[in-house]
Amino acid sequence: MNSQCRVIPGYRLSVSYTLLVMAALIVIPLGAVILKSSSLTWDQFVAVVWTKRTRSAYMVTFGASFAAAVVDTVLGLLVAWVLVRYEFFGKRFFDSLIDLPFALPTAVAGLVYSSLFVENGWYGQYLVPLGVKGAYSRLGIVLVLTFIGLPFVVRSVQPVLESLDADVEEAASSLGASRWQVFWKILLPALRPALVTGFALTFARGIGEYGSIVFISNNKMFDTEIAPMIIVSKLDEFREADAASVAVVLLAASFLMLAVINGLERWSRRHEA
């Protein structure tokens, strides 16, 4: 019998099982992608992943995801705030509605948004004459990603808001702090880790999103083509190594972003009062 005595039995078994699942579902498939792209030389690799077309696609992918994440962080905080701090008729219904983007196939989201914002759509008939093209445009991508990412921020912030003690705020306002000061100096710092988490999740989700953007995109290069579309396009041209190469770039960017956000979280936690 093992000399080490664990409180929870089955340590070796559970570690082995976890590692096996992680290897099979995550490490090996990712490794396969990297292996596929390694059939190209470095020069070929760069020639594939760093062209005008791919640079435009990276800009659209990361730019739209970033914009959507920023909007969602603000909107999500607002929504979470209302859901936690106020009582109103139908509150529980709206609360469960927030989970809709999670449950919906994102392609449906893209289809619905494009139908709404197209020239003869419910919104589009008023917005397009004003020059606001919500369908088949970069704006459309941001709109759809905002929709899809909203639950991430709301569900990250809600539990933190709920668990905040009212006495700190009460003490502050009894000492003469204005409502704005209470929000800015007490609530926001407490919510910052949750907001950063929500932002990160929305951003990551946006980068990987495909189905919804296919429907809202105008499918034109240098316009609304996102990086995952280039991968599919390369596959359509029967060029799998090229497709894998672009995938590797996206992978690397995602890892980098995760590292940065983790670092940010650690930094913000260290600077907490």
Partner: protein, 313 residues
């Protein structure tokens, strides 16, 4: 063998759903009566280029009835179809042909008569993406050819197609997607599509659209082929051969003509002369050495289509 069911998978291009539904409904009872074998046919419809890739990735298609020669030829290069496949069936494996025409809204408010009208300011073109769609590639080649065949230089043609795609607000993946965008979503002023799709569009919404025949257009040759590797593995060669041969019978050709595809049987073609107006057409050799060169030069990585899609600095 009599009484057992044979299942065929027919992988076709985007706008052929109605055609094959009718052809299948006619072939299955006819074959049962002749050979006593029950046949079920599974259809598959999507953009031609995407379908070719799916077959190469392992989709077990018994027959490939794709839109353009290079899509079917890619299957030969992948070892799925034997050499010389194009001569296996009559008329270079073409039971039907088509061409590229324009569909405009009733009354033709933007006054579109020919290719040159498409690049005018304020005209919105709906057509698929050449990277994935056969229809898309033919629209490009039609636009390109309309310039070079009439004596324009390659530089003129390049500028023309640049303006052409600038006037396209959205490029769907396949032909049927463009039809939906134009006819149902109400986008665009002119829909560049295949003749068979144009008539279908008109039939679905009578009185809403008009078909305009340009002065010159691309000759659409959608070859049909048996996927040798699959039929030999599944043992369905005999049925697949009979299936595609059925397209050349008078019954098959009638169904083809009824669905607005141009039949290649001279007698049937003569009978339906009124349905298919004369139009001057050109094929790939008029604008490139062959399909392989056209694919690389126009539609490949860094090709002309990508170059003209870039925003002007």
């Amino acid at each position: 063998m009599a009484g057992s069911t044979v299942e065929l998978l027919n992988v076709s291009y985007d706008p052929t759903r109605e055609l094959w539904k009718e052809l299948n409904a006619a072939f299955i009872p006819a074959y049962k009566a002749e050979k006593g074998v029950d046949v079920t046919i599974k259809p598959s419809h999507a953009a031609s280029g995407a379908q070719a890739r799916a077959i190469m990735d392992g989709q077990q298609a018994d027959v490939a009835t794709l839109s353009l020669f290079p899509d079917t030829d890619a299957l030969r290069e992948a070892g799925l179809i034997k050499e010389g496949w194009a001569d296996h069936f009559p008329n270079r494996s073409l039971p039907y042909t088509s061409t590229v025409v324009f569909v405009v809204r009733a009354g033709n408010p933007k006054g579109i008569k020919d290719w040159a009208d498409l690049v005018k300011d304020g005209v919105e073109i709906v057509t698929p993406n050449p990277k994935t769609s056969g229809n898309g590639r033919m629209s490009f080649l039609g636009a390109w050819g309309s310039v070079v065949i009439n004596g324009g230089s390659e530089a003129d043609a390049q500028e023309f197609v640049r303006k052409f795609y600038k006037n396209a607000p959205v490029l769907d993946t396949g032909a049927r997607g463009s039809t939906t965008t134009f006819a149902q979503k109400g986008q665009g002023d002119v829909h560049i599509t295949m003749e068979n799709e144009a008539y279908l569009e008109q039939k679905e919404s009578p009185g809403k659209f008009e078909i305009i025949y340009p002065s010159i257009s691309f000759f659409h040759e959608p070859h049909v082929a048996i996927v040798d590797k699959v039929v030999d593995k599944k043992g369905t060669r005999e049925v697949a051969e009979a299936y595609l041969k059925f397209l050349y019978t008078p019954e098959g050709q009638e169904i083809i003509a009824k669905n607005y595809f141009r039949p290649t049987d001279p007698a049937v073609r003569e009978k339906h002369k009124a349905d298919f107006p004369e139009i001057k057409t050109f094929d790939i050799t008029a604008v490139a050495k062959d399909w392989k060169e056209a694919q690389t030069r126009f539609f490949g990585d860094g090709g002309l289509f990508e170059v003209i899609s870039q925003p002007v600095e």
